[in-house]
Symmetry: C2
Subunit: 433 residues, 2 copies
């Protein structure tokens, strides 16, 4: 009976895969909390009005998103499609001490065609600062996100920085102001459809080939040109936008000790058609993996919900990061939290097994005992099937002497130890791993 | 503009309240994992067919639940109303090493009229064992849940135990077998509507007053009668059901060291109209608080999804437990994870502040620095508004000497310390708290 399946574009996560996801979420959360970000939990659903408020304000992303809502029957509700709109709705209804710094690691839902690496239910790990107009917020979020990426063991990555003000300045100067949405939409696909694709799309939208060429030249990535030159060029189109980027880079370098090649001005960055108004950024992993994090300043979003605070946010893509780690680890990693199975040689020793388990748990070790009254071979088979690294074997003699056989199921090595020593040996061996 | 609200019966959680919820969830999770339960994450949605499979098998809960679904438009999907059905659907489609022990701490959604203490979105913390026919599973789940309740600081509580087999035996013996669903439904309301209410409801269903009286007498709680006598009585109606309870109690007493008055046979327990087939249980907190946890064996549920494994589960009611803790703590508890605000006396010292923050974070302390370039008074006001316990104050002199003023914002006490000493002082003070 396989008629009962998970919904299209959604998945179960269990065993090794789930342990890996959980470990990643906890590491990111630990970093966010170490920087003083508060947890916020909002309902999975919002009113469609709340979700559509973005669209109402002529932010071009709206129409696209409206088509991707999972709407609830006869309720005027739909599942959230990101974690930013609920935050804006929440913050606008509160009088919070500012800056309000919050994180949220939770699923969002989008009813679009599932593709490799794009699910209909997926996790985001967002951190946002509300009520900080200065670039300190951008610098902190980028430094913190970099710390989180290092904590989960991501190798080399680069921060790509741009500013919507600069992009708008360029578009304006080229006389394309009225076509800004078309231009942003086309540029946003640069990675996917290439220069030729962008040219074709913009010409179709009635923009002259010469303007398109000039546009692509201006945002292009001239090899050998450093951030300093890029900022100077950008300053011609938006002095304010360039100055903001200069401040962010200076802080990342001087205050947070990043190297020159870890931060890169990249004027081709668009970050979708969303609600960004100032600096925008992406963190890209090496080896052609692409973006694992993105964000920016969205100073007008809260206005839609009735408050004028400025806001900046960053989001880590848990799904992409997990896919990366899965590739790196292959068959590694634990299926279960269990670190030791207490094996009883005989049902009459169940009580002794439970006592041993209790003591090992008190020492912070994750322990299972046999529930199914199986013989030793079956118990060890079970431990192996889950990749449980240790077995503590209790026979009559062991129960009487208080000395147990601790078996390392990976190496096969076996030692006779008291319970306290066995606990220490397990912890030591697992810490080395 | 307060037009954008949370959906009816749903809430935001932030600040102190969210910190408390998070701490509770983590403590429960830590205990579940210490017993070797694996995390499982399933989609928020399931197909309506999956959710209704329970109803199809003439399990009486079905019809009630079908009316409480949050259905997704044009999709055949709805949000899950518990964590058990998704588990059953998952486990039936896998070949997992048995016993499969999983936990899940996640929200569920029910479209019913919100009441005090009953929301439309609420958290459950479930642990289940699939593929263990013996009562060891029940005993382990009850011992583990008790451990989790102790870990979150719940005071006295009592485990109430019954068995559907006994209840069915009684109903059968009284000749009420055909009215079992009516009987269970009425008895399940005993706490709410009292003996008179149950009598009235059953008489309305056409059951004779004499039978109702006999029924209530049989399941009634005779003061002064111990578990032993209750088991003997129960054995007359279902020897097998009584023997199962005897085994569970013996294990809780002998193997897990519980006291006699912590476990109580309570034949009035029904546990809803759900899918239970054997032992059922509830954990009730003292002081009239009532049930904080419930569960039981549901040996036929997996069959509906195509597998014959037996299953037992327990669920902790996070919402009820939080309400309890909220009452106990009143205004206590932290609003933010931040343990120290590094106060810079002047913007030029920002870099020094960030360096100090970095070092304190490396020592495992949660730190904020000023994002908004405020003067000292404003920075300290901000710290106080969030209840941040410490401020580390950096002026020019401090930056040069490497000695900082560490101010305890609760006592007002101030010390001059090196950074390492300051970190140790903070950790020590917070550990004592």
């Amino acid at each position: 009976m396989t008629e009962y399946q998970t919904p299209k574009g959604m998945r179960d996560f269990s065993g090794r895969e789930m342990e890996r996801r959980l470990a990643m979420m906890r590491k990111i959360e630990t970093v966010y909390r170490a920087w003083g970000y508060q947890a916020l939990s909002t309902p999975a659903m919002e009113s469609v009005d709340t979700l559509n408020a973005k669209a109402g304000a002529n932010l071009a992303a709206g129409s696209e998103i409206a088509g991707q809502l999972f709407r609830i029957e006869d309720s005027g509700l739909a599942l959230r499609f990101d974690l930013t709109v609920p935050l804006a709705r929440f913050a606008a209804n509160q009088s919070l001490p500012k800056p309000y710094k919050r994180y949220c690691i939770a699923p969002v839902w989008r009813r679009e065609e599932p593709q490799k690496g794009r699910m209909r239910e997926f996790l985001q790990a967002d951190a946002d600062v509300i009520g900080c107009p200065s670039m300190r917020a951008e610098a902190e979020l980028l430094a913190m996100a970099s710390g989180a990426l290092r904590a989960i063991g991501l190798g080399a990555f680069t921060i790509h920085l741009s500013n919507r003000k600069i992009l708008s300045g360029i578009v304006e100067k080229l006389g394309l102001g009225k076509a800004e949405v078309d231009v942003f939409r086309a540029l946003d696909k640069l990675d996917k459809i290439g220069v030729d694709g962008v040219e074709a799309e913009l010409e179709e939208a009635g923009i002259k080939k010469a303007s398109v060429s000039k546009l692509l030249e201006l945002i292009g990535d001239d090899a050998g040109v450093g951030n300093k030159e890029r900022l100077e060029k950008a300053g011609e189109y938006s002095p304010h936008g360039a100055e903001e980027l200069r401040q962010i880079i200076a802080s990342l370098h001087d205050d947070y000790g990043m190297h020159g090649d870890e931060v890169k001005i990249d004027l081709s960055l668009v970050r979708g058609l969303g609600y960004y108004t100032g600096p925008i950024f992406e963190i890209r992993a090496g080896g052609g993996v692409g973006s694992v994090s993105g964000g920016g300043r969205y100073d007008h979003l809260l206005e839609l919900y009735g408050q004028t605070d400025s806001a900046v946010g960053i989001s880590l893509g848990i799904e992409r990061l997990n896919a990366l780690e899965e590739e790196r680890e292959k068959d590694g990693g634990a299926v279960t939290p269990t670190q030791v199975l207490v094996v009883e040689l005989d049902s009459s020793l169940h009580k002794n097994a439970l006592e041993a388990a209790d003591k090992l748990r008190a020492a912070g070790i994750s322990v299972e005992t046999d529930l199914n009254e199986r013989n030793m071979r079956k118990q060890l088979e079970y431990a192996n099937s889950l990749g449980i690294p240790f077995a503590l074997i209790i026979g009559k003699k062991e129960a009487e002497s208080g000395k147990f056989s601790l078996k390392d199921l990976r190496s096969g090595r076996q030692e006779t130890l008291g319970l306290t020593e066995a606990g220490m040996a397990i912890k030591e061996a697992l810490a080395q791993k």
